[in-house]
């Protein structure tokens, strides 16, 4: 392993994505699940940039920029949903118990 190649970055990205996925599957705290989703989005970003780096093109970075913007919008809406849930539901917010978004 003398030279650093795109496979290194792809494996790192895969590791981050899988750790995030395990967090979503294992944990039941909705905020931790949210953070793990952010981790998965970042891992996908890293893959995009690594492919762009390998192909000597800027398209990967452009796509990663769009992904960051979508992740920001998703963060705003997701956190607002968490606040609304914790305000309306009196019982503990358990992701296994949540079935509806209505009152």
């Amino acid at each position: 392993m003398g030279e650093i190649g795109v496979n290194h970055f792809l494996f790192l990205s895969a590791a981050l994505f899988i750790i995030g996925m395990m967090g979503v599957l294992i944990r039941r705290n909705i905020l931790i699940i949210f953070m793990c989703v952010e981790l998965m989005v970042t891992a996908a970003n890293m893959s995009l940039i690594a492919f762009g780096w390998e192909l000597n093109s800027l398209q990967g970075q452009s796509f990663a920029l769009f992904t960051i913007a979508v992740a920001a919008a998703e963060a705003a809406v997701g956190l607002a949903i968490i606040i609304a849930l914790s305000r309306r539901v009196r019982t503990p917010v358990d992701v296994d118990e949540m079935r509806t978004l209505r009152d």
């Binding site: 899988i18 039941r28 931790i32 890293m46 000597n56």
Partner: protein
């Protein structure tokens, strides 16, 4: 071993360990701090990949905006409302670990076995770096790409962000805001205790029930003969008919 390989392995190790810390930490605040550490290392990886602008955007957007938002929500939400930290059933935990290992295997095979199908923009890395430097750097090159090739997606993404922010505000708006305004208006015009009419036995969810009319008070429901009481404080309870 060249230096960049050593640095890559150091950054990657911290990255993976802090990501694991996000999953296993007991305290959600510790999870958020671990996530900040992980994102800083991801930004360093971006710098290694030649994406300087995205590295800065990563730090500003994720650690600057999203993580601060997460911490705010952590402080706003009552910790009792969140479930027990490791409350997942053991079945769930083992299934999650198993699925993760399977996916790691699949992705590993796919990465080692892949063949890139795609058009290289420029034949070799050195020429690409020269072209980017000619424009003025990574940020300028990315800006040119965004505003020529991806102009329409760029506008659409701004629309997505605007709609997302409006939706977030609508979702997080407190319900009680409207009720409080209503109650204050009622206090001024009606002569009832706390300004509410008779047919309101309990308050909104989570509040103490609204006090009904005082016993012995003569209150004409809905009639025109009641006294007009101007209350400065909406929670002040004027006594009617008894003194």
């Amino acid at each position: 071993m060249p230096w960049d390989v050593i640095i890559f392995y150091m950054i990657g190790a911290v990255c993976v360990l802090s990501a694991a810390g996000v999953v296993v930490a007991n305290n959600p605040v510790h999870s958020a701090i671990f996530l900040v550490l992980c994102f800083f290392n991801v930004a360093a990886i971006f710098v290694m990949l030649g994406a300087e602008f995205l590295a800065v955007a990563q730090i500003i957007v994720y650690t600057g905006a999203i993580l601060v938002l997460v911490l705010f929500v952590l402080m706003l939400v009552d910790p009792d409302d969140l479930p027990e930290f490791h409350a997942a059933r053991p079945v769930q935990r083992y299934v999650g670990l198993l699925l993760g290992l399977i996916l790691l295997l699949e992705v590993g095979v796919a990465i080692l076995d892949r063949s890139v199908v795609g058009r290289r923009a420029v034949a070799d890395q050195q020429e690409f770096t020269q072209i980017v430097d000619l424009v003025g750097g990574n940020t300028q090159a990315l800006g040119r790409t965004l505003y020529t090739q991806y102009l329409l997606p760029f506008e659409v993404i701004s629309l997505v962000l605007t709609v997302g922010v409006i939706g977030a505000i609508v979702l997080a708006l407190p319900e009680r805001l409207g009720e409080r305004l209503y109650r204050r208006r009622g206090t001024i015009s009606l002569g009832h205790p706390r300004g509410t009419d008779l047919a309101l036995p309990a308050g909104p969810v989570g509040e103490s029930p609204i006090a009904g009319p005082t016993p012995g008070a003569e209150v004409v429901p809905g009639g025109y003969g009641r006294r007009l009481i101007m209350a400065r404080d909406p929670n002040e309870q004027p006594v009617i008919g008894r003194r």
